[in-house]
Symmetry: C2
Subunit: 497 residues, 2 copies
Amino acid sequence: MLYYAKAGAELRFILSAPDSLIYPTSRRSSYIYLPMRFLFFLFLLVSFESGAQVSTDSAAFFIKDIYRQTLSEEKAYSWLTTLTKDIGHRLSGSENSLKAIEWAKKTMDTLSFDNVWLQPVMVPHWERGVSEQVVMVSKAIGAHSLNALALGNSPGTGPKGIRAEVVEVKSLDELRGLPDFMVEGKIVFFNRPMDLGLTSTFSAYGGAADQRTSGPVAAAEKGAIGCAIRSLSTRQDDSPHTGMTQLSDQIDNIPSIALSTNDANFLSDALKKGPVELVIYTHCKMYEDALSYNVIGEIKGSTHPEEIILVGGHFDSWDIGEGAHDDGSGCMHAMEVLYRLKKMGYKPIRTLRCVLFMNEENGLKGGRAYADSSFANNEYHLAAIESDAGGFTPQSFGISAGANTSLDTAMSHMAGFMELLEPYDIELKAGGGGADIGPLKPKAGVLMGLRPDSSRYFDFHHSDLDVLENVHPRELAAGAAALTSLVFLIDQYGIGK
Amino acid sequence: MLYYAKAGAELRFILSAPDSLIYPTSRRSSYIYLPMRFLFFLFLLVSFESGAQVSTDSAAFFIKDIYRQTLSEEKAYSWLTTLTKDIGHRLSGSENSLKAIEWAKKTMDTLSFDNVWLQPVMVPHWERGVSEQVVMVSKAIGAHSLNALALGNSPGTGPKGIRAEVVEVKSLDELRGLPDFMVEGKIVFFNRPMDLGLTSTFSAYGGAADQRTSGPVAAAEKGAIGCAIRSLSTRQDDSPHTGMTQLSDQIDNIPSIALSTNDANFLSDALKKGPVELVIYTHCKMYEDALSYNVIGEIKGSTHPEEIILVGGHFDSWDIGEGAHDDGSGCMHAMEVLYRLKKMGYKPIRTLRCVLFMNEENGLKGGRAYADSSFANNEYHLAAIESDAGGFTPQSFGISAGANTSLDTAMSHMAGFMELLEPYDIELKAGGGGADIGPLKPKAGVLMGLRPDSSRYFDFHHSDLDVLENVHPRELAAGAAALTSLVFLIDQYGIGK
């Protein structure tokens, strides 16, 4: 692409972009424009003081400035840099998670919110211990070390390790259909790839994740002594992807690991040449539950302080990489929403609350503790919005209704103001929310989730690739701007009941 | 994000994604589903043979399969890998550009199109020569080498180089307002950054690009002997971004370079401490025009072969990096559209043509030659669609009307079928097209341009960072799928006149 003065097409492209709605690109006209803009902004701030709704023209103007400031400052990215590089990953119950909590509390304390507090919650405390060692032994091709990670919550093999022949299956159904003797004493290898033909990688993940969440228990029920799964990844590479596996309280749980997609193919190819044994050493262990905290910041509403608009993410991450997309990005998004509105002089009608939930990854204790406390205090969440799908360019918000809300009514009411986000390519779509805000459903107006472009999310998810370098500052900022705009719009215009 | 079986929110998210419209995520139901899908597909292929329109339900089904196959196969990425790694960058008139043309022709020859041909076109032949050397000399902070690239088409300094004091300005207006004696014999330094507060980086580019396109001539008119511009980049880094500068035939053109954004800041900071001289050696030179070619592939229409639907990009690139996003991506998109529809057994009603235009970057000769030839042959382009904004996740198509078409009529007609792309987050927006297809406007129905997410484009554009590693295969595939679907829809339903 060039900038070709005589080629009208690109020029029209530029002029038709949303920026030209308000911000002229020519320097000359901005000299006239800037003072006008400042006066209008002053007028808006006075309107906000009154606690009454502003016109949609004023709202469009304000949203334009939300985007302008958020994209220019890249505040979420600057916080995320500190979180990922100075602290790092933060599994529930870990020392790092407490450092992160302390940092978030201290940071929010500097932002002039009305209240900042820690909400105690007991969380599972699982540790990986020293690195996993996994070796594949095959008569046909010899012994090879494989890239693997223990699955979260799973028991370790201990220093003696386990060694057994591998039986490969593509699904839980296929495993259950095997005669027991083919599984007893073996290591079950689930090797169904994510279906990349699906448009959303979340759908592809949803279609393959049962292998990780339920595979190890299903294998144990058939008498297996260990379980390996193909990493839930959208790429062929050497990075294994961990994640929670469910435990059984009926039978002994077995050690379980994820293999990198390259090594899953390698193992599968070896199995075509004859029997293969896996030797697995994992040193993970579940400890007593530990004390942890949700981190909460709040700006009180002027006219309807009893109606809460929550925006949040989960602050725990897996214990590899840096939890940059999952879900450092969502947490920094949530902090930026309140920071940005405060910095712009906005006085909310309702109460705005930013919540960093602990322990989404392997327990959801933070989300449940928050809802329990909220119900005990008779709170009403007009809207609870979660960002937990990565720091990529936002495409839409998904919406679900709380127990006493009509989704149709809410969606048709909100369609009126969501048009203001159309220039930013943000839509409203039925369905969605987030794991942490799910427990609020009985007493919430609407539950919503930010849906960014999902193309790259599962390249990194739960692996050592989920680091700051794979988050783009401008894409992260676009998510923060979309969330800030949505919170502003719901605060102004409600959800229609 | 975890896959938490008991947390209903995420499950609903997954179920509400477009994939679930047709493709069940459970393995069990797909056993029943697959044969049904195959039968329906056979039925569709028979419908296509008849050359008549299919129902929108059938179209939705076919588009689902376009996405499925395109995302799974990642064909455009595989071609782009060959183009970037085996051939590399391909400036008009270069040996590499001829290698690329030969490769594209040979590749298309294997794809069973009806016609593949080369269209001769004379193009400018500018060469950079050996690497630029730029040194900044300041009494206050000493001598420092700067990262720079000569601007495309600009004359070189030759082996003697130039050396002069620097005068910094922020705009053409500021330069023109300076007294001549402050500019005469100096090197003018344009240092206005792209405005990152704008939502579209194309707007930010449009607002800063006059410095590169018109700055050197404006500086020469005031008596400057050289010109340096701040790179048009969205990042602070050490990679300079080149691009075309316009030449004057009234006065002597002067050597001009782009400095990396880091070095632009460094130079500007030095100027705050006292006078600074730049020493510039560039070895670029314009040669005689060279013979080159547009590469064209075609599938003839069954019922209306006289109506052409063109999809294209430009095949030349700057002479650094690999021209991966600009515009290898657009060219591979165009090839994949015809490849995919052919592979799926689709028989088009209209004639589909894929055009790889030569010399968009520094002359637009390919686009003009194509239009001249088309007009001479009395051809009618029902739609000409360009992909020249990178291989990122597509967000919308921009549309402009040809000389004898009503934009309103076309848009309201197309709105009917563009709804089928709504599940893929693709919209239709007024305005847009592309530089290469611009010359077709007098005899085209509509001109359209693919608009991908622009967040990262100008991080790489015209620099050594525009390489395959910065193209994501799935994002590239999403663009190919969107273009293929659009071409299919226009072929089926026309543009409403």
